[in-house]
């Protein structure tokens, strides 16, 4: 009896597999690729707990437990790194209303041609590479030759080498990011706004609401779920401050603001060859990110009923 159900189950399996084997064949290349390039490094992350030597391999290297995590926490600049990373991350998130305001303004425009032109131009910076953006910043902000300094001087200000001033690093990083992402970030809100029922808007107008009141009491509440999801998603990246842009804007003079966890990992890992230590920092960073994302998601679900999971 037992044997029969077992063989029937096996038969069911086989049948389902045979029926769909071509689907599995379509899936296979991606599974192999992701296994190699995403899961094998996850397996390799154990070198964070070992004193990795290339000649000994992962398994041959001595297990040292949390040694490198302790080393990182005791690193004199640990708090500075954390502070720099957090402040850039939080500052970036704090600018998220910019795209929403931009979308709300676009939504008020009735002239189709004007609307389309503004949208098309505002999406464009999103497609420039980080190297191009940072090259422009470096050139424009240059003390002697930069156009921004030229304009500032023409307006009666004094020339400054902006990128070497640590206290300005975050502003330059974040606001150039706003410049680049404003339009692109607004797409999703513009789409959400186009779904706001017009009866709702008309009803509010009949009740005597002016346009600002319509925006505040009808439009914004309607797109709130979208706002919450976007906010939760961006919180997952608080410590995942993009390596590329920070690295490209970094110089020896602004390092006290611009050294973040990811650039430090690159510097000591790839440049310095301290594989285990930098793996430990990378792992630490990853775990903190996922934890923050999880917490924010739970809070968002409690407060508004929407979350990403």
């Amino acid at each position: 009896m037992n044997k029969r159900t077992h063989s029937a189950r096996v038969k069911g399996w086989k049948k389902r597999f045979l029926k769909n084997w071509q689907l599995y064949a379509l899936l296979l290349p991606a599974v192999i690729y992701v296994f190699i390039f995403s899961y094998m490094p996850m397996y390799g992350v154990q070198i964070a707990f070992r004193d990795y030597r290339t000649s000994l391999g992962i398994w041959g290297s001595e297990w040292v437990g949390l040694k490198f995590f302790k080393q990182f926490v005791n690193y004199p600049n640990f708090l500075l790194l954390l502070k720099n990373t957090l402040s850039i991350g939080l500052y970036s998130i704090a600018t998220f209303p910019c795209s929403i305001i931009f979308a709300l303004m676009i939504n008020e425009v009735k002239n189709v041609k004007f609307k389309k032109t503004v949208q098309m131009i505002s999406y464009m910076p999103h497609f420039l590479s980080t190297v191009v953006i940072c090259s422009m910043l470096t050139l424009f902000l240059n003390e002697k030759t930069g156009v921004i300094n030229t304009i500032i001087e023409a307006l009666g200000g004094t020339r400054q080498e902006f990128l070497t001033i640590p206290s300005l690093f975050n502003d330059i990083y974040v606001w150039s990011g706003v410049w680049q992402g404003l339009g692109w970030g607004a797409i999703i809100y513009i789409a959400a706004l186009s779904n706001v029922p017009s009866e709702l808007v008309d009803a509010a107008k009949v009740d005597g609401a002016n346009r600002l009141k319509v925006i505040w009491h009808v439009n914004i509440p309607s797109i709130l779920p979208t706002i919450v999801i976007m906010l939760v998603l961006s919180c997952g990246g608080i410590l995942a401050v993009g390596f590329e842009k920070v690295y490209l804007l970094q110089n020896s003079l602004n390092l006290s603001s611009s050294q973040v966890i990811s650039t430090y990992v690159y510097e000591i890992g790839i440049r310095g060859g301290q594989f285990s230590y930098s793996s430990a920092i990378g792992l630490f960073n990853n775990l903190v990110n996922v934890t923050i994302l999880g917490i924010v998601n739970v809070v968002a679900k409690r407060l508004s009923g929407t979350g990403i999971w």
Partner: protein, 300 residues
């Protein structure tokens, strides 16, 4: 009466603010272009702000004499075309398979992919793996890495699920069409718009990528255009700095200054050239990108 007036002011204000923002979006690009065709001396001494001064193509000639830039261009074009093809071959079939509700183990496979959006081995373990696979500094390094984006796959899967009617597949199955046949003859032709969107996403990512080249390539023959651009920018920055520091004769000084001016102006030309493919294609493909964001925002 009062109300209508305030509404008008409100509307006017919005138009003015949006017009200003649009100008701010455009100006850096516009300035890059006018600086690249102006007389290098005028650019460096700040005479160029709104209009080009003393038209010259010297900086472009200088750029095209540079063999590193040609190599970078070639590498980036090959990486973008071949790499994007690899991306599509990996992404689209997988997205199709995962869109099938009767695929046994669908949930497990989806989780398998989605986990990698949140957890990763990190820079160093990945670097060591690439090293052990003997993929460092190879002409195909950039192509092999960055082959798959879970986000793009989810976008494609959502499209397959929501935009292609099930009855089409059922009819094909009755006619004896295999799963492969259904994919190649029904799903692929109908999914052309989303395949275009995903191809564009991947291509932009590859063209703009700098980090992969920085980390995995040290042989200048295989540098991507972005890395060449970065290196040239750093080089001539130090060239300008050297002038201030060294004590040279007046004649040498003039010569060095001229070279430094040209090197400065050349940077604008390179920035423009590096963005050119993007800017050329952009107006035509803009609506596809936007479509991709819309599909991506539907939770699958």
């Amino acid at each position: 009466m009062y109300k209508i007036k305030s509404e008008k002011i409100f509307t006017g204000l919005i138009y003015v603010v949006l017009a200003l923002l649009t100008l701010i979006m455009l100006y850096p690009l516009y300035f890059t272009v006018i600086a690249s065709i102006s007389e290098p001396y005028d650019v460096v001494s700040g005479n160029v702000i709104l209009w080009p001064k003393g038209f010259t193509l010297d900086s472009y000639i200088q750029v095209f004499r540079n063999s590193e830039i040609w190599a970078g261009y070639r590498n980036s074009i090959v990486n973008t075309i071949v790499g994007t093809t690899l991306n599509l071959v990996l992404t689209i079939p997988a997205a199709y398979a995962l869109s099938k509700k009767d695929l046994w183990g669908r949930g497990v496979f989806t989780t398998f992919f989605v986990i990698t959006m949140y957890f990763s081995g990190g820079l160093l373990p990945t670097y060591l793996l690439v090293r052990d696979l003997d993929l460092l500094n190879k002409p195909y390094t950039l192509i092999m890495l960055g082959g798959f984006s879970v986000y793009n796959m989810v976008v494609a899967r959502t499209y397959f699920q929501s935009s292609i009617p099930k009855s089409l597949y059922e009819a094909a199955e009755i006619d004896g069409c295999s799963r492969f046949g259904q994919f190649f003859r029904i799903a692929m032709p109908l999914a052309k718009p989303i395949i275009a969107v995903i191809a564009l996403y991947y291509a932009v990512g590859r063209w703009n990528d700098f980090t992969t080249s920085l980390v995995y390539i040290s042989d200048s023959d295989y540098f991507s255009l972005q890395q060449v651009l970065r290196n040239i920018l750093m080089e001539s920055q130090s060239a300008l700095a050297n002038i201030d520091a060294s004590n040279v004769t007046a004649e040498q000084m003039v010569y060095f200054m001229r070279r430094a001016y040209l090197a400065e102006a050349m940077k604008y030309a390179i920035i423009f050239i590096a963005s050119l493919p993007m800017l050329l294609f952009y107006p035509f493909v803009q609506k596809y990108f936007v479509k991709g964001v819309m599909i991506g925002s539907i939770k699958g």
